[in-house]
Symmetry: C2
Subunit: 197 residues, 2 copies
DNA sequence: AGATAACCATACCGGTCGGTATACTCACAG
DNA sequence: CTGTGAGTATACCGACCGGTATGGTTATCT
């Protein structure tokens, strides 16, 4: 199979040392407390710098939010690809289910759900520059499932990929907002059944 | 089968006329723009009253948020039950899938996803009184699926109910944050396959 | 040597936030 | 007749918001 995985989100900008510290701090705070709940002054303080540097490096809070989401996407996608690489191509359903293993690793200490869904909750309906980043991450996940299914020789990869993506998103929501601890096990079981055709 | 559907969320408080107008207005604004994005002054203005009355009736913004979510849960649950009532008990998979019909009706003009997931995004990690309301709504949906499955005589209703719930939550996320227009069709197809197991 | 980029410190801007205070009108029930 | 609860109107509070202005110190590169 010549199908390749979807192109991962890249973090093109090389930041200055303080800029890097700001991006890391902002990511931590935005995810832990929400975007509107975190002021630029707090980010500057916790990064050991001042608002001035934030605006010198990023120009606006909105732009910093975009940096946060793009980095988050890149990090998560790297985890997924790493988990896929642990399973040789051609191992079929087992390799597809590795995406859920990646999710388990990723969510082990993330208690505030999907950063992109959370960002959507705060900016949907506006022209905030984060909106396309959110959409792109969801599209990437769907295309990832589809691409792996193609590689593993499954029929109807588009349809099946969309269905697995639903289980993936549902698992995050019920595990976090729903506090259902065994959500991932249910998702894996349902995915295995769908893959068994 | 003697299994009954889970008890629906009730809106116990009978409000004064202006209080009712405030609750309706707050619900519309909180859902459309998010909780933190909407100030109490704006709610008062659009309801044709003043902040004073908000605090006389509800005591705090947080309490008004709880009213918003409880009413939203009650409204949605009524829609689901109405759709279930259109299908006579004993029609098996068809009746289970009616929940997805209800969702289609409900989401037809709702462009900002699940109100409870959105609220979670803004308040998770705090002691905000909305948190238990969010959890309760997710639990209700899972128990609804399970109860209908029991009524329709499916084996393993707990497990299957959790799996269908994942598809339900995933459909909302991918349809809204993911802009995937056919998400509900995929969810219904996947649900049908799991039910055919 | 001079320029430039990176950074720090501090003060300031107009605006909005949730919440409170005061004082008034009106309908209705004892 | 006299409360009492519901509602209106407006002013105010301290705190915080995103963003800007000014001025200064380093280190590096040409």
């Amino acid at each position: 199979m010549t199908s390749t995985l979807p192109e991962a989100t890249t973090v093109d900008d090389v930041l200055t040392p303080v800029g890097e510290r700001l991006a890391v701090t902002a990511s931590r705070l935005f995810y832990a407390r929400g975007i509107r709940a975190v002021g630029v002054e707090l980010i500057a303080e916790e990064a050991g710098t001042t608002k001035k540097t934030i605006y010198d490096r990023f120009g606006s809070k909105d732009a910093l939010v975009v940096v946060y989401l793009r980095r988050r996407a890149a990090d998560w996608q790297a985890v997924v690809v790493a988990h896929l690489d642990e399973h040789p191509a051609g191992t079929g359903a087992e390799r597809v289910l590795a995406v859920f293993d990646a999710l388990e690793t990723w969510l082990a200490r993330q208690w505030r759900g999907c950063a992109f869904v959370n960002a959507y909750a705060e900016v949907a309906g506006t022209d905030h520059p984060a909106m396309p980043v959110v959409r792109a991450e969801k599209l990437w996940m769907r295309e990832l499932f589809t691409a792996v299914l193609v590689q593993e020789g499954f029929d109807d990869a588009d349809r099946l990929g969309s269905q697995l993506h639903l289980l993936y998103e549902g698992a995050i929501v019920t595990l976090t907002a729903g506090s259902q601890g065994d959500a991932l096990a249910h998702a894996r079981a349902a995915a295995a059944r769908l893959l068994a055709g």
